[in-house]
Amino acid sequence: MNLTYNEAYQQLSTLVEQIEDNEIQLDTLAEKVAQAKELIAFCETKLRTIDNEVTQALGDNNPKDL
């Protein structure tokens, strides 16, 4: 799953709206539950993992003598 936080949030909100407005039928519930679970796991994981932790910007503008 490669989403932005915005996309994940929007999709999850839509699922919640649908279920709260009784728009989800029993026969699609399992599929929607799986989607919601995946979106939540995606956000939780993304909040806690990132590639590079601390880096120093590379460029000539960085004063080397400081």
């Binding site: 936080y5 909100s13 909040l47 004063p63």
Partner: protein, 383 residues
């Protein structure tokens, strides 16, 4: 040969004259200071008071703070956020002193801080006025609050990729990174450091250069953090600079400042999202992400709460159906005292098939009655 005096005799007379005129008296003066030499360990400060016409110094007098009044210098730095240094104009209370070897000087007894603060505030006001006047589309003032383009950029839902502008090996850098790295929720962050000198004459230009560098790769970052810190650092002047302030006001990524001073808010602070200290900048970023996670948890609870209800309702409907089916089953009917009549072992639905002489069975709960029909008539319900 005229009468000759020893040097000391003449100097004694000078001393007497000065004593007569100045002993026990103090004076308030306003003057520029130069050649400021602070000896913090001894708590002395030597300086010169000067007065100029154009660029020409017309009057000059030595001045000194001794350890009993040195706290004035420290207080000045605390209050103004500026180092006590050459080029300042100060108002102070002085006493005239004369020493037979070192000559005449002015001992400073007290600084009028309100004068220094007033002057500083005035400079700041002028810069703010100019920012408003020359950048109406970027900066406006409403009810004493500055609204800038930068402050109104919507923050991303989560902020993880941080461009950190700070001085190398500074307290601010350390405090910020510690708070970020040790956040209690275990959130991950990528901090890219843009190190620069952050105090002194040229630093506002150097900070702008770092911001330009960030802007050239802005898709890599969620926000910019500018922090400085450290107890004795007092030079806030770079953060009141017009060009830097304007650059921050117009910057396309959200800028969080943690420039750290209790009394003074710098102009850069006003143009950006201000936090008191580097640690607080870090915790506000962590809190922002926590808010997002709370929203997600809330959505999760709403979704699964409703999903459970949905399943529960479906189960209830099935239970209801089962009850209905059961209520209409033949055995339930017989239990209630009704009877079922059959002909040729088929339930009589159409009475036309029954005639006098037909063999019928009446099924009761426990027994079956066998009968022969003797008579048939219409059943008029007595309604």
């Amino acid at each position: 040969m005229p009468q000759q005096l020893k040097l000391s005799e003449l100097v004694n007379e000078i001393e007497d004259a000065i004593q007569n005129r100045f002993a026990g008296k103090t004076f308030w003066i306003t003057a520029e200071i130069t050649d400021v030499k602070k000896q913090t360990d001894k708590r002395w400060c030597f300086l010169k008071f000067i007065e100029k016409e154009g660029n020409l110094i017309t009057t000059e007098m030595k001045g000194v703070f001794w350890s009993t009044t040195f706290y004035n210098v420290e207080k000045f730095e605390q209050l103004t956020g500026k180092p006590f240094a050459s080029g300042l104009q100060i108002t102070c209370n002085v006493r005239v002193r004369f020493h037979k070897r070192f000559g005449i000087d002015l001992e400073v007894l007290e600084i009028d801080h309100s004068y220094a603060l007033g002057k500083l505030a005035l400079e700041k006001d002028l810069t703010l006025e100019r920012l408003l006047k020359e950048n109406p589309s970027l900066i406006r003032l409403e009810d004493g609050q500055y609204f800038t383009y930068n402050k109104q950029i919507t923050l991303p839902l989560v902020m993880q990729k941080i461009a950190l502008v700070t001085a190398p090996n500074s307290d601010g850098q350390r405090d910020f990174k510690q708070e970020i790295a040790n956040n209690q929720y275990g959130y991950a962050f990528a901090v890219t450091e843009f190190l620069t000198q952050i105090q002194g004459d040229n630093s506002s230009k150097l900070i702008v250069q770092q911001l330009q560098l960030i802007q050239s790769q802005m898709e890599k970052f969620d926000l910019v953090v500018i922090v400085r810190g450290g107890g004795s650092q007092t030079d806030f002047k770079p953060f009141d600079d017009y060009e830097l302030s304007k650059y921050v006001a117009a910057f396309p990524l959200p800028v969080f400042t943690g420039i750290g001073h209790d009394r003074n808010t710098s102009i850069v602070d006003m143009m950006a999202r201000q936090h008191k200290t580097p640690t607080k900048v870090a915790s506000s970023i962590v809190d922002h992400n926590y808010n997002f996670e709370s929203t997600i948890v809330n959505l999760k609870e709403r979704f699964f709460g409703n999903a459970e209800n949905l399943v529960e309702k479906a189960k209830e409907t099935i239970r209801q159906l089962k009850r209905t089916v059961k209520a209409y089953s033949p055995s339930s009917i017989l239990q209630k005292g009704y009877a079922i009549i059959t002909i040729n072992d088929k339930i009589i639905i159409d009475p036309k098939k029954v005639h006098p002489g037909s063999e019928i069975k009446t099924l009761l709960r426990d027994e079956i009655i066998f009968s022969t029909v003797t008579k048939k008539s219409n059943n008029e319900p007595d309604l």
